[in-house]
């Protein structure tokens, strides 16, 4: 058994899976960094009292949440070039950019609905109390609503974030070489090794460990935010 873990084949496979997992992580973090603020913008749009903006924003959320992410990735990567609108940079970086864009848009829409729920779930009395204290609308939003919204949205956000860990594997549809792609590559052949099936299943270890770490961090955050109990 120990021989297996020190064998050159195992080393080669792990090196390849690691390189794939770096791409998975890159996609994961770029998506979070982009989607968390963009989601807030979309949430404001969906709650706007200005009808056309609200309608546009809600239609957009409906379209993005109502179609499969995998389809959005394919469309975003191939359609601009086929229609000669613009071309993604060639090589791996272009694929990464296109996939990140698709993930950010998709996740921002899901996040926006979580934010909206969090904001609208804060009792009206809280805002009225702020008014009584002479706070401006902006102050009420920042110091009263936002504060309470953040602690409310942690559990549903955790759910989405854990889903995101695994959704990154959809990027392989346009041949972004993330960890599942690298695992599968040994079935067909990679670095002179072919016909190996176990690397594909071994990628599960990466996902499990990573989602475990994310779960722990989010639980910690939830505990830290439980200051009103």
């Amino acid at each position: 058994m120990l021989d297996f873990f020190t064998s050159p084949v195992f080393q080669t496979v792990i090196a390849a899976l690691n390189s794939g997992f770096v791409k998975t992580l890159e996609l994961f973090f770029v998506t979070l960094i982009g989607a968390i603020p963009l989601g807030l913008v979309i949430a404001f749009g969906s709650m706007s009292r200005f009808f056309p903006l609200r309608w546009l924003s809600r239609t957009f959320v409906w379209v993005i949440r109502g179609t499969p992410l995998v389809l959005q990735i394919i469309a975003l990567f191939y359609v601009p070039g086929m229609k000669e609108w613009f071309y993604w940079p060639s090589g791996e970086s272009g694929r990464m950019t296109a996939v990140c864009a698709a993930f950010i848009i998709n996740y921002a829409c899901y996040f926006s609905e979580i934010y909206r729920g969090g904001i609208q779930g804060v009792p009206r009395g809280q805002q009225e109390a702020g008014l009584v204290l002479g706070m401006t609308k902006g102050q009420i939003f920042r110091h009263v609503t936002l504060l309470q919204m953040i602690k409310r949205i942690v559990p549903p956000m955790s759910n989405e974030i854990i889903t995101l860990v695994k959704d990154t594997s959809l990027a392989r549809v346009i041949a972004l070489q993330e960890v599942i792609w690298m695992g599968e590559s040994f079935m067909k052949g990679n670095s002179g090794i072919s016909g190996l099936v176990w690397p594909l299943f071994f990628t599960a270890v990466y996902y499990l460990i990573f989602s475990g770490v994310v779960t722990l961090l989010l639980a910690k955050l939830e505990k830290k935010l439980a200051y009103f109990q």
Binding site: F50, M82, Y87, S90
Partner: protein
């Protein structure tokens, strides 16, 4: 305060509408700047129609010079999948080698550009070409009707056949079959193997890659798989995870058909097809093709006339 918010909302929604409209608008804009201005109109249609040796006349009327486009950006992006002995990496090396990869490097050199290899999802090879994510599909691609209808294809350069892969302990059952009726056969979706299996009456299970087809057989979820002869040689048997698999039947022979041929695919109507054919004829004549083919054990399969 309230008014300011309303105005902000109005501005935002106008910006969104404009952004959406801009997407549509830029189509026309790009069209104007790209094809006609940098390629003299008289030159391109001529090269486009000369190309059609194996393909129907190019449907695109606004063909720009693909050769100029590639030379302009300085790279020839070659779309591949990992395919020993055509496009693969030697153990411990990060460089793409193989019969196709080596010839692609020579071809890029003859154009004065560098070859860049990009792994693609095989199902999307046509979309990859048309969206200019890649410039050429050069990966042991069988020239079948679908490929020739969607791409500008080169002269055939290599022979191939489709073989039936089965579990070694059941191999005797499949000896000398002329029909696959009643069998569940895993095939790569969109491959020549899929056509061959269907022609012989098999119930096909289309999967994403030839490698997945093998997993179907290994897991017992399909009776057999149909893959390329050249790949079967590299992927199954001793020293692989598929040591219990073997290939028995040559489906081309079983159908009484000729061998299949591999070709290189460019964008429909591209002038690179003609450039490639001239390059290839020259390399066959000076012996380079045979030499490279021999390096990878393909001297029997390569087409030299």
């Amino acid at each position: 305060m309230k008014n300011a918010k309303r105005i902000a909302a109005l501005v935002l929604s106008l910006a969104l509408i404009l952004a959406l409209a801009a997407c549509g608008g830029s189509t026309g804009g790009d069209h104007d700047t790209q094809p006609p201005s940098d390629a003299p109109a008289t030159e391109t249609p001529a090269s486009g129609s000369d190309v059609s040796t194996a393909t129907p006349p190019a449907s695109d009327s606004d063909v720009e010079s693909d050769l100029a486009y590639v030379q302009d950006k300085g790279t020839l992006v070659v779309g591949i999948t990992y395919f020993d002995p055509m496009d693969y990496k030697a153990e411990g090396s990060d460089e793409w080698i193989g019969f196709d990869a080596d010839m692609a490097k020579l071809f890029a050199e003859s154009l004065g550009v560098t070859a860049e290899f990009q792994e693609i999802t095989w199902d999307y090879k046509v979309e990859e070409l048309n969206s200019k994510a890649i410039d050429v599909v050069w990966n042991g691609m069988t020239l079948n009707d679908e490929v020739m209808a969607a791409m500008g294809t080169s002269v055939p350069y290599c022979l191939n056949a489709q073989v039936l892969v089965v579990k070694a302990d059941r191999a005797a059952e499949f000896e000398g079959l002329t029909s696959l009726e009643g069998l569940t056969v895993a095939v790569e979706s969109g491959s020549a193997g899929e056509d061959a299996a269907e022609a012989l009456g098999a119930t096909t299970v289309p999967v994403q890659a030839q490698a997945n087809a093998l997993m179907e057989v290994s897991a017992g979820t399909s009776d057999a798989a149909v893959i390329d002869l050249l790949m079967a040689g590299a992927m199954i048997g001793e020293g692989t995870s598929y040591a219990d698999l073997t290939y028995t039947l040559n489906l081309n022979e079983a159908q009484g058909l000729d061998s299949e041929e591999y070709g290189v695919g460019f964008r429909m109507g591209s002038d690179l097809v003609e450039t490639f054919n001239a390059f290839w004829a020259e390399k066959v004549a000076d012996g380079t093709v045979l030499e490279v083919a021999t390096t990878y054990g393909l001297q029997e399969s390569v087409i030299l006339d």
